[in-house]
Symmetry: C2
Subunit: 439 residues, 2 copies
C-alpha cells in the first residue's frame, strides 16, 4: 500500500461544496425548479455517464475534444456528458411513440468539460436545462426565455443587470446565401464566426478558407458582423424574408410576455453548437464582465440526426458558475436557503435523557432541532448557538429539570418564551417522563 500523503484538495477543476456554498446552491436550484414549474416544465434526468457514441456523433466538434471519456471493465466506451441536449434527444427518441408533444421538460444536470484551467474556469458545472420539443411556434422560444428571466428576477436581477442578445441562424443563412456561400458551408461558417473575439479575425478567415469558401465570400462573411439593425438587413435582403418574419413574431410574443425590454438583436450571436437551426440567444451582464449567464436556441434537426422521427425543438441552458459570480458582485451577495433551527443543549449527563426527549418532541412538532451531543456549560452552549444558523435556543440544566419549565430564547432579539416540559412531552410515545421507566 502506498504511503505518500494524500492530497485533501478535490481533483483539478472540480468543486467541493461546503455548507455555506451548498446553501447558496440549494437556493439557486430551488429558484430554478420553482421557475420551471411556474412555466409548466416537468423534471427529467439521466445519468451523468453517457455512451461515448452519442456524445461524439451529435455534439459540436469543439465539445468532442473536451469530453471525459473512459472504458468500463467490459470495454464499453463511456463518457461524462458535456451537455444535456444529446441525452434529452436520446430519451425522447426512446419513447417517441408514447410521449405527449409538445413536451416541456427541465433538468438540473452536472456537465463536464476538460478545459485548460484559465480565469477560474471549472471542469464541471451544473446547468439548468429547459427544453420544448414538438412546438413550431416562436412561443417555444419566448417560453424558455421568459422562464429564465423569471428565475433571474427571483434572484434579484432585472433589466438593469443583464440583456439577452439574440439572432436567427436562418437569417444568417439567408445573408450567406446572398453572398454566394452554399448552404453546405453554413454550419462551418457559423462555428467559425462564433469564435469572433476569442481568436483573431485572420484565423477565422483561415478557417473559412479551409472550409472551401471563396476569398471574397470570406471577407464579406466577416463584414456581415458589423450590421447592427434589422432594417439594414432587410435592405440587403431586398425585403422581408421568412427569417426576418420569424424574428418579428418572436419580438411580438416577447412583448406580450413582458420580456421585450431584455432583448437586443445582435447578428454576431451564433452559438458554438452545430445543432442550432433558428433563433439563438445569449444573456450577458450589462457590463459584459462575465461569460454568458444563459443561452440557447432552436434545434429542429437533432432528433432526425440521431435517427429518430424529426421534431422541432428549443432549448436553454443556464449554468451555476457565472450566475454565482454575478450575484457575488452585487452588493447584497448571493442569498442562501436556510430554514430556522432550534438548538437544544444540556448541562450534565443527568439531563441527557430529558434533553433527547425534548428534542424529539420538538421535531415531532415540525421544528428543526440541532441537538447538542455532549453536556456543556450554558455559556458555551449559547456561544455555539449564537455563532451559527440557529434561530432559537433552549438549554436544559438541573433548574429546568426541577421546575419543569423551559425557556426558549429567540436569538434574533434575545426574547424568551416559556413552555412547560409536560405540555411539550404530553401524549407521545417514548416521552412519558425524563426517567427511563414509567412515571
Amino acid at each position: 500500500m502506498d504511503n505518500t500523503p494524500l492530497s485533501f484538495a478535490p481533483p483539478r477543476g472540480m468543486r467541493d461544496f461546503y455548507p455555506e456554498d451548498m446553501l447558496f446552491r440549494e437556493h439557486l436550484f430551488e429558484t430554478w425548479k420553482m421557475s420551471a414549474w411556474r412555466f409548466g416544465f416537468l423534471p427529467y434526468d439521466a445519468c451523468v455517464v453517457e455512451s461515448l457514441d452519442l456524445l461524439r456523433r451529435k455534439a459540436g466538434e469543439e465539445i468532442s475534444e473536451q469530453i471525459y471519456a473512459f472504458a468500463d471493465k467490459s470495454g464499453r466506451e463511456l463518457a461524462l456528458r458535456a451537455e444535456m441536449t444529446p441525452t434529452l434527444a436520446r430519451m425522447i427518441a426512446a419513447r417517441q411513440g408514447s410521449l405527449r408533444f409538445p413536451l416541456k421538460w427541465y433538468a438540473i444536470a452536472q456537465c463536464f468539460r476538460y478545459e485548460r484551467m484559465t480565469r477560474g474556469r471549472k471542469r464541471e458545472h451544473y446547468q439548468w436545462n429547459l427544453d420544448i420539443v414538438g412546438a413550431q411556434s416562436v412561443l417555444a422560444e419566448t417560453e424558455v426565455i421568459a422562464a429564465a428571466a423569471s428565475a433571474m428576477k427571483e434572484l434579484g436581477l432585472g433589466p438593469g443587470d443583464y440583456r439577452i442578445r439574440f439572432n436567427n441562424r436562418a437569417l444568417l443563412s439567408e445573408l450567406l446565401k446572398k453572398l454566394g456561400i452554399q448552404p453546405q458551408h453554413h454550419a462551418a461558417t457559423f462555428l467559425a464566426l462564433d469564435k469572433r473575439g476569442k481568436i483573431p479575425d485572420c484565423e477565422i478567415e483561415e478557417l473559412l478558407r479551409r472550409e472551401g469558401l471563396p476569398s471574397e465570400a470570406v471577407s464579406s462573411a466577416l463584414e456581415l458582423m458589423a450590421i447592427t439593425t434589422l432594417e439594414e438587413i432587410e435592405n440587403r435582403l431586398g425585403g422581408e424574408t421568412p427569417a426576418l418574419r420569424r424574428i418579428r413574431d418572436f419580438q411580438q410574443a416577447a412583448e406580450a410576455c413582458g420580456i421585450l425590454d431584455l432583448l437586443i438583436f445582435d447578428l454576431s450571436v451564433v452559438r458554438g453548437l452545430s445543432y442550432y437551426t433558428g433563433i439563438v440567444f445569449e444573456a450577458f451582464d450589462t457590463e459584459r464582465k462575465f461569460r454568458a449567464i444563459f443561452g440557447g436556441g432552436r434545434y429542429d434537426n437533432l432528433l432526425g440526426d440521431i435517427g429518430a422521427r424529426p421534431m422541432t425543438a428549443v432549448g436553454l441552458g443556464f449554468g451555476d458558475v457565472v450566475i454565482a459570480e454575478l450575484l457575488r458582485e452585487k452588493e447584497s451577495g448571493p442569498c442562501r436557503l436556510q430554514p430556522a433551527v432550534t438548538a437544544v443543549g444540556y448541562m450534565s449527563e443527568q439531563q441527557a435523557q430529558l434533553a433527547i426527549r425534548i428534542a424529539s418532541a420538538l421535531r415531532r412538532r415540525g421544528r428543526n432541532v440541532d441537538m447538542r451531543l455532549s453536556p456543556e456549560k450554558p455559556r458555551n452552549f449559547f456561544s455555539y448557538a449564537g455563532g451559527g444558523n440557529t434561530a432559537e435556543a433552549v438549554f436544559i440544566g438541573p433548574d429546568e429539570a426541577a421546575s419543569g419549565i423551559l425557556r426558549f430564547k429567540d436569538l434574533s432579539n434575545g426574547q424568551e418564551r416559556q413552555m412547560a416540559i409536560s405540555e411539550l412531552l404530553e401524549g407521545h410515545p417514548g416521552s412519558a417522563g425524563h426517567t427511563t421507566g414509567q412515571s
Copy 2:
C-alpha cells in the same frame, strides 16, 4: 463519421428518469432534506469525480475492485466515487482547523459501482448520507438513526414495515479476543463474516484460514454468529465490558428518541466496509425481501487513517433504489411531488397575444402555468389538460376576448369560477391590453 444506428437506451446499469420517475425522486429527496434539517444537519456536496488515490487507499477491498476509474487528458488518475465517506473525510481534513465540531452534515450523492448485473442491481444510485464528526457520545448514533427513521415515517413506513439490526464491532472484537484471535486479524475477520449468507460458510472458513487464523479459532468465529442475546454474550465475556456498556447506552438513548422499538440486536451484522470501529446497523424490511434500506455505523479511525487529526465519526447511508422497491410493494405506491398547474389554451392566432398576456399575469401572481403553444379546438385543449397533471384549465376563444371574462375550470370537480381579464392584467408592465399598441 460512423453511421450505424445509435442505441437510445442509457448505458448498461445506468438509469434514465422520465418525469414520472423524477417526480418520485424529487419527493424522496425532499423528504431526505426535510428530515436532515429536522435533525440539524447542514448540506454539503462534492464532485462525483474523485482522485483514484483517495478511493483506492481508504475504501474496503471489495469496493476498490468495483471502482469506475479513468485517466484525464493530462494523465491524472480519477474515478467515479463508490461512496461518499472518503470524500467527506477529505473535505473535513482540508478544513479541520476552521470547522466547528461536532459537525452534522448531509449529502445526497450519486455513487457508482461496477457490479455484475443480477437481480436488477444498478451500477449507480443516489445515497442520502448523514454524518456526525467529532462526537464521542452514543447520541451521534441515535441522531443519525432517528433522522433516517423520521424520513421513513414521512414516506409512510413504520415499525410494521422495517427493523434496524445493530451490533457493535468492538463487542465482536472482545469475543474474538476471547477466542484467542489477535486484534490485527479482526478487520479481515469482520469482512469475512460479513459475507455470511452471500457465499458458503466453507469459503468463509477458507478466507479466515488464509488470513492466518488457527483452525479452532476459525470454527469458533463462525459459531459466534449463532449467539442471539446480549445476556449470553455477557456470560461468555464474564461480565459487563466497555462494548456491552456502549450498547446499553445506545439502547437507552434510542428509548429517549422513541426509536427503540425499531432496533434488534444482531451479532451477525458486521457491514462490509473496513473502516467501521463501533456500533454498526442495517435496516431491512420486516419480510427480508429486499437488500438493506439503510445502514451505517461508527468509524473513529478514518480521519486519522487518511493523515488528518484523528476524530470520531458516525455515518449513515440510505439509497434510493431499495426504498423505491419497498414503496412500490406497498399498496399505496410511491408518492410524487407534483405542484398544481394551470393550463392556458387558445382558439386561434387572434387570441395568441391575449393568451400569452394572461399566462404571464397568472405566473406573476405565483401560479404555475402550462401555456399551450399553438391554437386548438376547446375539445382538444380540455382533453389535453385532463390527461396530465393539470389542476385547472382556462381557454381563450373569441367569446372570452369579446366579453373580457375568463372561466377557470377546476379539473378535480368540474367547477368553474369567473374572473375579468382586466382585473387579471391590471397594473402590470406589458399587460396594458390585448393589442400590441396602447389601449
